[in-house]
Symmetry: C2
Subunit: 118 residues, 2 copies
Amino acid sequence: MVQYNCPPLDLSFAALSDATRRGIIDQLGQGDASITSLADTFQMTLTGMKKHIQVLERAGLVVTQKVGRVRTCKLGKRGLGAEAEWIEAHRKLFQTRFEALDEIISELEKEGNDEPAS
Amino acid sequence: MVQYNCPPLDLSFAALSDATRRGIIDQLGQGDASITSLADTFQMTLTGMKKHIQVLERAGLVVTQKVGRVRTCKLGKRGLGAEAEWIEAHRKLFQTRFEALDEIISELEKEGNDEPAS
DNA sequence: TAAATACTGAACTATATGGTTCAGTATAAT
DNA sequence: ATTATACTGAACCATATAGTTCAGTATTTA
């Protein structure tokens, strides 16, 4: 039986499934930030923000470094390559599947630009 | 022609964060399947598989239809467009960030330990 | 030295997830 | 009419998540 086990994707997709964490990535894309400034931006306690950062760190999406009393967070070098690969590969799979059912799909789409569901 | 009835990214990324569910998508890419055959493939109870399918359905990644006593699962028309968009946009963000902070990143990698030994 | 700042960890709450078993219902096959 | 098949729902379990408060420690700053 094929093993579909892929821990890094588990961790990164789980990390991306939270709007606050996606927001943190947005924010870090603008520049590095401390836990305090992120907690302030997202109106959350320091402890709560630290947990989000830990989730992002475990997924390799963020790295942090503590200098003095300030922990600075930045985007991880790992990036989103593996996730992009999986998504792209399977996006094609979806499309292929629909092409195989082209006659049915195109018929449905002719009935309206949106969902044909009544 | 992108997303119309698009459930939030929260739901789809959460759905993709489980290896079994990613495997189900692989499987459905090969052809439609019943709950029973999927449960068999992934060595799981029917009830367990039904829960996974429900998660995928809520995310819009899978649609199902019950005919007689068999519920057939197939890939949802929604696809992975919204997810691909988010990932691609942010992948560029990561890259831009690294170019800007190349020297700092390499310094981080040299240190490795950010916790003072107390 | 004293006080403010920045973070950390433990503990708690509430809810979700991933899985099970068990007891059904509806449908198909014999 | 029986029986087997396919699914469904409720209930349960263990663990994880998303957040909090509270009590610290370590580091600046005044």
